[in-house]
């Protein structure tokens, strides 16, 4: 009988073994490299730093308790992110039941065709522009404006750089849905950001227009 291919590296496997033998310090060693990923995953659902930290802590403690059952069929970090996503969803349902989209809506991808709002030319961003406060706050507003199911996928893929397969796994959706939602997320972000920096584009104009300050 073939055994599942383990994705643990040696040091990770050793740390897990030490934790299972009662070494709490080893658990922190396991968690530390992925603590930012855990926080970001919680943020992708909750979009609130205080709530995300609370959920990140709960998820880590849950992982500690559940670690003896971890089989190493995915990376530890992916498993921990999956626990975090589940905890964040539970919190969201508990705290903001009336505001959160229904489970049915989460599962469906009611995707019609996408039509860009404009065709303004957005040239490559010079690196010195990346830190501009104005640009960063426009980006934050655009992220905040995304529907949660698109924001989750965008953050897991483009901020945390999870693979399509890992993203599907932690969100409990198909790889096809990951691709569809990612497309929507990226295009909506582009729509949101394109007019944002200098506000000079007009959707009424037919001609190709360069509006970016770079």
């Amino acid at each position: 009988m073939s055994t599942p291919k383990l994705k643990l590296d040696i040091s990770e496997a050793e740390l897990i073994q030490r934790v299972c033998q009662g070494d709490k310090g080893a658990f922190y060693g396991l968690v530390q490299p992925c603590e930012r990923s855990v926080f970001t995953a919680a943020m992708s659902i909750l979009n609130n730093a205080h709530d995300a930290e609370e959920v990140a802590q709960e998820a880590v403690l849950k992982a500690f308790t559940a670690l003896p059952r971890f089989r190493g069929e995915s990376k530890f970090s992916t498993w921990l992110i999956q626990i975090t996503i589940n905890e964040a969803r539970l919190k969201l349902r508990k705290d903001r039941k009336h505001l959160y989209e229904s489970i049915d809506e989460q599962q469906s991808d009611e995707e019609g065709e996408y039509f860009p709002k404009d065709f303004a030319d957005w040239r490559e961003i010079p690196s010195e522009q990346l830190q501009r406060t104005e640009l960063r706050s426009a980006l934050k507003r655009a992220l905040d404006s995304l529907p949660p199911k698109y924001r989750e996928v965008l953050i897991l893929r483009d901020v945390q750089h999870l693979s399509i397969q890992e993203t599907a796994q932690v969100l409990g959706i198909t790889e096809g849905s990951v691709k569809t939602r990612l497309l929507r997320a990226r295009l909506q972000m582009r729509d949101a950001l394109t007019p944002g920096v200098d506000g000079s584009w007009s959707s009424g104009k037919q001609e190709f227009e360069k509006v970016r300050p770079w």
Binding site: Y28, L61, E113, L130, K179, R186, L193
Partner: protein
């Protein structure tokens, strides 16, 4: 939408391959997969040919690529000050 595009290029086996037209709508549908390298060679060639002739779709491509680049540094999702310490304390006290 652009008109028909016919480009000849060498396929994987060195056989000239025709790239036939693709509509803007199809390009938008696949633009994210294109950026992720998730389209097959034939579709990639068709899209590349399209981008050469359609400034609108090229603008959508460049903008979408910029979005990926912008969010990629994760500045918007830095952990709060003291996060690590508080997490460590939680584990220690478990």
């Amino acid at each position: 939408m652009v008109g028909p595009v016919l480009v000849k290029l060498n396929g994987a086996l060195g056989i000239p391959m025709k790239v036939i037209e693709i509509t803007c709508l199809e390009v938008w549908r696949e633009i994210s997969n294109y950026l992720d390298g998730e389209v097959d060679a034939e579709l990639r060639s068709r899209m590349e040919a399209h981008f050469k002739t359609c400034a609108h779709c090229k603008a959508v491509l460049d903008g979408t690529r910029n979005v990926v680049k912008l969010v990629g540094d994760g500045i918007e999702y830095q952990v709060p000050e003291g996060f690590s310490k508080r997490l460590y304390d939680k584990i220690k006290n478990k």
